[in-house]
Symmetry: none
Amino acid sequence: MTRIAKSEREEFLAAVRHKLLHAALVEFGTRGFEAANINSISQAAGFSKGTVYNYFESKEALMLELIAETGAEHQTYMQERVRQASEPVERLYTFYETGFAFVAEHPREAHFLITTLNNPRIAFRQAMQKTYEPMFRLVAEEVLAPGMQSGVFMVKQPMALASMLMTIYLGTSSTVDESGKPYMDARQVAEFVLRSLREDAGTREEK
Amino acid sequence: MTRIAKSEREEFLAAVRHKLLHAALVEFGTRGFEAANINSISQAAGFSKGTVYNYFESKEALMLELIAETGAEHQTYMQERVRQASEPVERLYTFYETGFAFVAEHPREAHFLITTLNNPRIAFRQAMQKTYEPMFRLVAEEVLAPGMQSGVFMVKQPMALASMLMTIYLGTSSTVDESGKPYMDARQVAEFVLRSLREDAGTREEK
Amino acid sequence: MTRIAKSEREEFLAAVRHKLLHAALVEFGTRGFEAANINSISQAAGFSKGTVYNYFESKEALMLELIAETGAEHQTYMQERVRQASEPVERLYTFYETGFAFVAEHPREAHFLITTLNNPRIAFRQAMQKTYEPMFRLVAEEVLAPGMQSGVFMVKQPMALASMLMTIYLGTSSTVDESGKPYMDARQVAEFVLRSLREDAGTREEK
Amino acid sequence: MTRIAKSEREEFLAAVRHKLLHAALVEFGTRGFEAANINSISQAAGFSKGTVYNYFESKEALMLELIAETGAEHQTYMQERVRQASEPVERLYTFYETGFAFVAEHPREAHFLITTLNNPRIAFRQAMQKTYEPMFRLVAEEVLAPGMQSGVFMVKQPMALASMLMTIYLGTSSTVDESGKPYMDARQVAEFVLRSLREDAGTREEK
DNA sequence: GATGAATGAGTCTTCATTCAT
DNA sequence: AATGAATGAAGACTCATTCAT
């Protein structure tokens, strides 16, 4: 996607494409895929009605590319930061802090991704799953696995747990009170999760 | 709404209304509000296309009533069962077991509610919030509060925590693998939560 | 229509019919035939939706009967009063005064008749013409003809002139200023017409 | 609206717009606003059904523009010709002759305007009034007023009289016999009016 | 490549009319 | 005769998509 020595022409086209994708992000995020108006997207991007069709096959294709690009952006953002933490517990804190930061810094992207997660169209949900798969693996393989190996975390089913950690991230960062802020901050969420994960937690009698 | 000695006529009308609501549940759940076809709903319920308008003002009104009724059904289902458990920890287990059971028994209702939670239309999200408010209170006041008072749970912010417990319920019960089953079962989820909630959890050094 | 010794039943039915016609008058007059809602008419008359079809074949049949009855009412009103004036000039004054009085006393009937005069449906315009034919004849034969015979009026084409007198009546009585009052009163209109009709008028050189 | 050196594109669009307006004139005039089918209008103009919405906001907007344009056309037609007559009496003759000529030459426009005059929708009646206001003023200020000043006409209430002259024009030119012709011709109508207007008319005893 | 007019399928909604009760 | 639920035809309007310029 990013080749070296891109010609000016290519750069120009990529810029147009990016403008269109951004306008689509806002429109799809605000009104949902079905209610979104593809002509409005083109015009919000500064072009006239037909232009979007010079860059994308159809409304659905635009949506799918948007899912892929926005998901990848989210993934890259998370991965880069999580990997900077060296130790499992710190990585887990970093995961939630980075996650909440992404929502705060990129509210439109976050909103788009969250609403798309439960989009009624299977094709879109599948695209979301595919897009989030690397993030699952990031949590499972680079946060939970090292924690297990070093004996800090007690993890029985890494994928299921990764799914829950993601669910908790997506749920808590997007569930907001009347003022538009999440009920909990990243640290509180991380601590909640950590209490459960620690090797010595739950060693007491259960129920 | 449910009066005793309802006349036959009233019962008949209520039955028609129910058929329409059920057809709407399926259609809205499957295709989403915008893509849903209101004529198809009427016909799926066994009537001709205009009939739905004898019972509901508009597509939007139908959606709002469906949210209210389905949400109330969910709430009643949960509340009745949760209250049967006498003790906080058991109540928490029951909460998740009942929640997962609802999803298993009423997959269409559950799917409808989940997808509506992130519907782009504010009016629908607000209706969902209003509908779920009693369930929040159920968790906060009848599960968490007793647990705090009896010293089993360590809870700092009951509402925020109730929100998280709900989020975890909705997220884990609706996030499914390829075979359509949740990654975790109710018990696993409840245990995860419980480990975090217990008074003596997290008493170790934090980070 | 009004037979002696009408049975109670017949009277009751006639009363219902009259209520329906009156409601139709208001609805058709206010919204026009096409926009009128026949169920609203039935309900405005105090009955439920289907009742109007027990008395009238169809919306169009109701309209045609309404035209006939309202037109006849207007005609009767005018004829009775005009005939009480014995002499042509007085009859002409009476014609306009009665006409304006009808509009003032029966604004809904008048409004209905006026708007129906130019209804786009030919069938309705023809019904109006048929209904107003006796009033034409009243003007031609009982106002203008006597005036010609007695040498007071100079009339070349009685029917054409009758048409104009009617036109002037209908136009002036229904053309209102911002406050809803006609620009001229009956007397002024009658005087305008009379100046033209008098035998010695226009004996001067024309153009 | 009519600029010099209009580009070809603009001319083309204006032509399309004109075709649509003409088709609307026929449809609205024939069937009335409510019964008119906007898809038929578009297709009668030679386009597919959606095209009309590229040029007009809605059915109602199309109607309002049609009233304005057709009314203005009528007004221009009348004004140009009436002003060519130099002297009041001649102007009055010209007014009726021009008016009848307009109806003969532009029967569809005339029919549309007449039926719209009594349209049940207030918005349309108001638009008609606004459109006809210059014609009122033409009669009052450029026909009646000069006649008063030169002592030929006896006019007490110029606006009320202008209204009556307009009413007489609209009524007589549109009231037709079975063969579709007006009962009177322009000259007869003008003479009728003139007899009433002349200074020495009606100087005899009144009633 | 950009434009934006034209297309026409699709859908919500209204409402005259029917008919079982 | 009265009711009012059911019917389904009809129509205003939207908008994804095409394509000539």
